[in-house]
Amino acid sequence: MTRKRRIYDGILNALTYLSSGIAVIILVMVLQFVFVRGWSGVNFDLLSKPYWSGNNTIEFPQFKTGAFDRPDHLGDDIAFSEKLGIGLSDGLDAYKEHQVVVEYLDPESPLHHGVVSTAGVDLGKELGLSEGSNIVNLMLKDTDDKIVNVGAQRKSTAEETVAAMDNISEMRKIYFKTEGGGINGSLKATLYLIGLSLVIALPIGIAAAIYLNEYAKANRVTNAMRSSIELLSGVPSIIFGLMGVSVLFPITQLMGIHTVSIILGALTMAVVLLPLIIRQTEESLKVVPIDLRYASLSLGATQTQTIFKVILPSALPGILTATLLSISRIIGESAALIYTMGTFIADRPRLDQGATTLAVQIWSLMSGEQPNFELSSTISIIILLIVLALNVSVKLISYRINKKWSVS
C-alpha cells in the first residue's frame, strides 16, 4: 500500500470522525442547554403537580395570635412572624412573577385553622395555609384598626408581609395560591392523546397495510391508493393542523364537541400516523417471506386465516415498532396539535376539551407573554427521558422477540 493511499485514507476517515463529532457536539449542546436550565426543576412533584395554581381564599372565624420562636434551621433569607409562626420568602412563579412563599409554618400556627370562603362546594370547609403556597393577598386589621392588604399582589416583599403580620390585630382573609407550574395535566393529556390516537390509527393502519400488501391487485386503483398514502406521509404537520380544524372538526361537532379537543387532536394525529403505521407495517409484512403465505394457502387455509395465523404474528415486531414510533411522533408533535387541541394548558384534561401535550406546553410556554425557558427545558428533559425509555424498551423488546423468533 502506497503512502499516498494511506494518507488519503486517513483524511477520509478523519472526515467521518469529524462528522460524528459534530453530531455528538450537537446533542451535547442541546442536552446541556436543556439540562442547565431545566435540571433543577426536575422532580417527581412536577409530574403530579398541576400547572395552574389553586386559588383559595380562607377566613379565620376564631383567630388568636400566639408567640412563636423562630426555628434555628430557617435561613437568613426567610422572614419569620413570631405572632403567626410563619416563615416567608420571596420567590418567582412559573411566569417569573413575584411571589411571597410560605416556607415554614409552625405546627401550632393559627394559620392552619382557616375555612374556605371561596364560593362553591368547598365553602366553609376547613382549609389551612400550607407550606409552598404563595400568599397573594392577606387582608388584616392592624393594631391601628386599619385594613391592610399585603402579599404578592401588592408587591410586598416577605419582609414587609411579616412586618404587617406582626402588627396584626384581626385577621380578615388570606388569598393564597398553591404551588403550580407542574405538568400533570399535559402529561395526562399526552397519554390520552397517545391512547386515543393509537386506538384509532393502529387498527386502520394495520388493516390498510394488510389490504395493500396482501390483497391489492397491481392496478391503477391500488397504485392511486398507494401513492395517496405515500403522499400523505410527505405532508407537513402544519398542514395536518389545518386539515384537523377544517376536515375533522365537523366530525367532532357531530359528537357534540364544539371546541378544539383531545379527540380532535387524536383524530388528526391518527391521520398523521396512518402513513407511518401503514409503511412500517407493510415493511414488516414484506419481510414475511412470500413462501409462508404460499405454504399456508397450499395447506387449504383461506387468506384471512393466513393473515391472522401466520402473517400478523410474524409481523408483530414491526407493528410494535410502528406503535413505538407513533408514540414518539405524538410526543414530539406540536404544529398540528396547536391547531387542533389549542394551546391552553389544562390541568384536568378531558377528551372533549382542549389541552396541551408536553410538547405543546413547551410551545405555549415559549410563545407566552414571558418565555419560560426553565420550565420548557424541564419538560424537554422529561420528554427526552420518556423518549429514551421508549428507545431502550423498543430495543429490549425487539431483542427479545428476535431472540425468540429469529428467522435466520
Binding site: Y17, S19, I206, G234, P236, L274, M366, L388
Partner: protein
C-alpha cells in the same frame, strides 16, 4: 391412505369463506379510508386556498398573479406575495441540506463501518435521541443558542443581525433537525449494502476506507437519497421551531444569510392569530404552495438522482 377429509365439516368451510370475504372488505375499507385523506386534505385545502382568488370571495378576489409572483407579504397592507417566500423556503432548506447531508452520510458511515461496536451503539443511540427530540425543543434551543452563534458570526463578518434571527439560523436549525432523519436512513441504507460487496472490494485489494467510500456509499446511494428527500420534506414542512428564529421578513427574497427570512410554514403559523377572513384563508393558499414545492423538489431530486445514477453507471 387414511384420509382426514371426512373430518372436515362443510359448515366450517362455508363459515371460513364467509369470514374471508368479510375481512377482505374490512381491510379494503381501511385502505380506502387511509387513501382518501390525502384527497380530503387536497380538496379541502385547495378549495379553501383557491377561495381568495375567486370573484365570489367576500371582500373581492385577491389577484392570483400577485399572490404567486409577489415579493412582499404584508398583512397590514393586505399584500400577499408568496414568490419570495417560496424562494426563501427553498434556500433555507437547501442550505440546511448543504450543511447536513455530508455530515449525515459521513456519520452514518462512521457508525456502520468505522466505529468500534460499542461506540457505534452509543452513536446510534445519540442519533435516535436527536431524532426523538420534539421540534419545539429544537426551537427553544435555536432561539436560545443558535441565534447567538449566528450573531457572533455576523459580528465577525461585519454584519449586524436581528438578534441572530436569520436565514442562516433557520438553515442551521433545519440542518440539525434533519440530521437524525438523514443519518438513520443512511445507516439503514448502508447496513443494507450486502456484505458480499464489501468483501468483494476488499478481495480486490482495496483498503477498508476505499471500500467504504467507493463501494459502500455508491451502493447505498438510493437509500441515502431517500433520506435526502425525507430530510428535505422535513426541512420544508417544519413549522414551530423555524418560526421561532425566522424573523418573518415582509419582503424578499433574502440571499444574505444574516438577514431575516420567511418560510412558508412560518407564514402559516403566523396566520394562526387569525381565524377568519383573507388572512386566515390565505394560509390555505400558502399550504397549497407548500405542498407544491415539496412535490416539485421531490421530483427534482428524483430526476437528479436518476441522472447521477446513470452517469455513475
Amino acid at each position: 391412505m387414511d384420509s382426514k377429509h371426512h373430518l372436515i365439516s362443510e359448515a366450517y368451510q362455508r363459515r371460513k369463506k364467509g369470514w374471508d370475504k368479510f375481512f377482505k372488505g374490512l381491510f379494503w375499507l381501511a385502505g380506502f379510508i387511509s387513501a382518501i385523506f390525502i384527497i380530503l386534505i387536497i380538496v379541502f385545502i385547495v378549495r379553501k386556498g383557491i377561495g381568495p382568488f375567486l370573484p365570489s370571495y367576500p371582500g373581492g378576489a385577491y389577484p392570483i398573479g400577485k399572490f404567486l409572483t409577489g415579493f412582499q407579504w404584508r398583512q397590514d397592507s393586505a399584500i400577499y406575495g408568496v414568490a419570495f417566500i417560496v424562494i426563501n423556503t427553498i434556500i433555507s432548506a437547501l442550505g440546511a441540506l448543504l450543511i447536513s447531508f455530508p455530515i449525515s452520510v459521513l456519520t452514518a458511515l462512521f457508525i456502520t463501518k468505522i466505529a468500534p461496536r460499542s461506540l457505534s451503539r452509543i452513536m446510534t443511540t445519540i442519533v435516535e435521541l436527536l431524532a426523538a427530540i420534539p421540534s419545539v425543543v429544537y426551537g427553544v434551543f435555536a432561539a436560545g443558542v443558535i441565534v447567538r452563534w449566528v450573531d457572533s458570526l455576523a459580528a465577525m463578518a461585519g454584519f449586524s443581525t436581528y438578534g441572530g434571527n436569520s436565514l442562516l439560523a433557520v438553515s442551521i436549525l433545519l440542518a440539525i433537525m434533519v440530521f437524525p432523519t438523514m443519518t438513520s436512513l443512511a445507516i439503514v441504507a448502508i447496513n443494507a449494502v450486502p456484505r458480499e460487496l464489501v468483501e468483494g472490494s476488499l478481495a480486490l485489494g482495496a483498503t477498508t476506507t476505499q471500500t467504504n467510500f467507493r463501494v459502500v456509499l455508491t451502493s447505498a446511494k438510493s437509500g441515502i437519497f431517500a433520506g435526502l428527500i425525507l430530510g428535505l420534506g422535513r426541512a420544508f414542512g417544519e413549522a414551530t421551531a423555524v418560526s421561532m428564529v425566522a424573523g418573518n421578513s415582509m419582503i424578499g427574497p433574502t440571499f444574505n444569510p444574516f438577514n431575516i427570512t420567511r418560510t412558508l410554514t412560518s407564514t402559516m403559523l403566523a396566520g394562526l392569530k387569525e381565524t377568519q377572513g383573507l388572512d386566515y384563508d390565505i394560509r390555505f393558499s400558502v399550504g397549497i404552495i407548500l405542498m407544491a414545492v415539496i412535490l416539485v423538489t421531490n421530483l427534482g431530486i428524483h430526476f437528479v438522482k436518476d441522472r447521477i445514477g446513470r452517469s455513475m453507471s
